[in-house]
């Protein structure tokens, strides 16, 4: 167990290092002189030289990279050229929004996806399965941003139940917060729910025909126990894998969802940084997102070993 985790941790760190190199090199490869971007109004050669000097832009790129990582490790991600404020602060402000949005979407995807997947597998060949399959296929085929617009049309314009835009912190007004977060969470969670549903259904169909389920039935266990304790427990390994692979899409989706619903989260920060050529912010955001993604994947692997003793105990097949 420990050995397995250490291996995974080492792999994650290598990937994280490569990511940081790619991000750093990528930003440096951007067209335009970063000094020029930072200079703003003051563009005299002397001012530019001063900026180059103070930001160490004249140094070797490897030295620059080392310095950047050194600062990043202490929580200093540089200064936004757009706002003049520390990038770390902007990220810290945006993080709760995106985290809440992602958590709600994930909750929705897991509850609805796994629930519908179980129903589709257990009610095989019945209308319930057909219905669940159709909804899942539709969920996979509808682009999230369009779903967002349709939901806004339906539930914020035609039938104003929910709000279409803006963010109110949960701490300030929980009810208003949820009123504004429900639609974005549905938009972000729908695609994931569809994928989770399909995988759950497939894995459950596999498990339900397995020998150990026959054993469980031969023991006289209730249907609920056979499905929940035996079939589902085994299916979860597959579902968790897929969930881990799909979390990247959740991050991508958050960017779009925040754009549609005007939520001041990570995604909006990213897009704004691109359009205002705010490279320091872009670099920080991309680095943080990728680090989060790598961390999530590591957690997913840990979760596997909790679910499946064969991984945890490193036993044979």
């Amino acid at each position: 167990m420990t050995k397995y985790l250490l291996t995974r941790l080492r792999q994650s760190l290598i990937t994280l290092f490569l990511v940081s190199v790619v991000v750093f090199a990528g930003i440096r490869a951007l067209p335009g002189d970063p000094a020029l971007a930072m200079a703003g109004e003051e563009r005299s050669p002397a001012a530019l030289a001063a900026i180059r000097q103070s930001y160490g832009l004249n140094d070797n790129i490897v030295v620059q990279y080392g310095r950047y990582i050194g600062h990043a490790l202490t929580g200093d991600l540089g200064t936004s050229s757009r706002t003049g404020l520390p990038v770390a602060d902007a990220i810290a402000a945006a993080l709760p929004v995106t985290l809440e949005l992602s958590a709600l979407a994930l909750l929705l995807a897991v509850v609805v996806g796994i629930g519908a997947g179980i129903v589709a597998a257990v009610r095989r060949g019945k209308p319930a399965e057909w219905f669940a399959n159709a909804i899942a296929l539709l969920g996979l085929s509808i682009p999230t941003f369009w779903l967002g617009m349709v939901l806004v049309l339906a539930f914020a314009i035609a039938l104003p139940v929910f709000a279409a835009s803006g963010y109110v912190p949960f701490g300030t007004d929980p009810l208003d917060n949820l009123r504004r977060m429900v639609l974005p969470a549905i938009v972000l969670g729908s695609g994931l729910a569809a994928v989770v549903m399909r995988q759950t259904r497939a894995a459950m169909l596999d498990s339900l025909s397995a020998d150990y389920v026959r054993t469980a039935r031969a023991k006289g266990l209730r249907r609920r126990e056979v499905i929940g304790a035996h079939a589902l427990r085994n299916s979860l390994v597959t579902v968790v894998t897929v969930l881990g692979l799909q979390l990247g899409h959740l991050i991508s989706g958050a960017v779009v969802t925040e754009q549609i619903f005007v939520l001041p989260g990570f995604g909006k920060l990213t897009i704004d940084a691109v359009f205002t050529r705010d490279y320091a912010t872009l670099q920080g955001v991309v680095l943080c997102t990728s680090a989060a993604y790598i961390l999530i994947n590591l957690l997913v692997d840990v979760l596997y070993s909790v679910i499946d003793p064969r991984i945890r105990l490193g036993g044979a097949k």
């Binding site: 150990y212 054993t215 031969a218 023991k219 006289g220 085994n234 097949k317």
Partner: protein
């Protein structure tokens, strides 16, 4: 071997059990009017080729067949009718009054649950034990089926156990609630020869200690000769012969049984310990999509005449023993004219 099986009421009584499966347009008749009785502490061996319906019969008795199966006939367990009972009723009976172990010990245990959990589950379900009591009882059961260091084993997962050990765990689960009937579907087929004997010993000792009646489904005529009291021979979904084990081996009354025993009866082949598998009989097993009014074995039978291909033979007592208790039955028009001399 068993304590006077003759006078006792049967614990399990199967009457005219038929099972058919619908698959699209076709209907497959997997089991066709099979009947047998099982008394306390008795071991009934069910033999026949793959696909003859012996496993399907057991699954039907357990009520474990999928909804695509249609079951008719009667299955009485200790006076209670199981055929057609709602699944909720059957759940209370399965694992409690009648239990089953399967051919594949490697896959029959749930890989993500501990051994203790999987044994305890059945105790908590049927006997209402709490977690601690179930745990203690699980340790006892593992000792009973001959698993060393049981306290340690109940914390382990199936993949940490060998195939033989897993099958012992399956037996422990099956006998946990002291069932009246245990169905063992080829319990040793997937195991090494050396491990097989151990498993059969465990089954024998359970029968002696707990008085469990056992339905032993097997390919292996050696196992039949060593463990069974009576034998039921099945062919193409039908019961073709049933007799006490000695009588069946000595004087089979169905040509199919004779074919099966052919190799065994030849001198030299009866050496103890060697494995005796069902020998090849020329011809093909008929398709199960139709139920002909004829003997289904006729196309492969050397004794077949016109009657065999136009009328279905009843499953009735053979003449030699008819007066007694009908302990030897066969479904063959020639059963009574067949003498020992016919056997080569």
């Amino acid at each position: 071997m068993s304590p006077d099986p003759v006078r006792e009421e049967p614990v399990l009584s199967v009457r005219d059990l038929s099972v058919s499966f619908r698959s699209g347009e076709r209907t497959v008749h997997a089991v066709d009017h099979v009947s047998y009785d099982l008394k306390r502490g008795e071991v009934l061996a069910v033999v026949g080729e793959s696909g003859c319906g012996k496993s399907v019969t057991s699954m039907a008795v357990m009520g474990l067949l999928p909804p695509t199966a249609t079951i008719t006939g009667s299955v009485r367990l200790g006076g209670r009718e199981l055929a057609g009972a709602p699944d909720k009723e059957l759940q209370k009976v399965r694992g409690n009054d009648i239990a089953m172990i399967f051919q594949e010990p490697m896959t029959s245990l749930n890989p993500v649950l501990t051994i203790g959990r999987q044994i305890g589950e059945v105790l908590r379900r049927h006997q209402g034990l709490n977690r601690k009591q179930a745990r203690e009882k699980s340790v006892e059961l593992l000792t009973l089926v001959g698993i060393p260091a049981p306290r340690q084993r109940i914390e382990e997962y199936p993949h940490q156990l060998s195939g033989g050990m897993r099958q012992r765990v399956m037996i422990a689960i099956a006998v946990a609630c002291d069932p009246a009937v245990l169905i063992a579907d080829e319990p040793t087929t997937a195991l090494d020869v050396t491990v097989q004997a151990g498993i059969l010993e465990v089954l024998q000792s359970l029968r002696e200690r707990l008085g469990t009646a056992i339905v032993l489904i097997t390919h292996d005529l050696g196992v039949v000769a060593d463990s069974a009291d009576r034998v039921l021979v099945m062919y193409a979904g039908r019961a073709v012969e049933q007799a006490p084990v000695d009588e069946l081996f000595a004087a089979p009354r169905h040509p199919y049984t004779r074919g099966l025993l052919g190799a065994v009866l030849k001198p030299g082949a009866h050496a103890g310990g060697t494995k005796r598998r069902l020998p090849e009989i020329p011809g093909l097993v008929p398709s199960l999509t139709e139920q002909p009014d004829a003997c289904t074995f006729a196309p492969r039978c050397t004794l077949a005449d016109e009657q065999c291909t136009t009328r279905r033979p009843g499953f009735r007592a053979v003449e030699l023993t008819a007066g007694a208790d009908a302990r030897h039955k066969a479904a063959c028009w020639h059963a009574n004219t067949m003498t020992k001399e016919v056997v080569r």
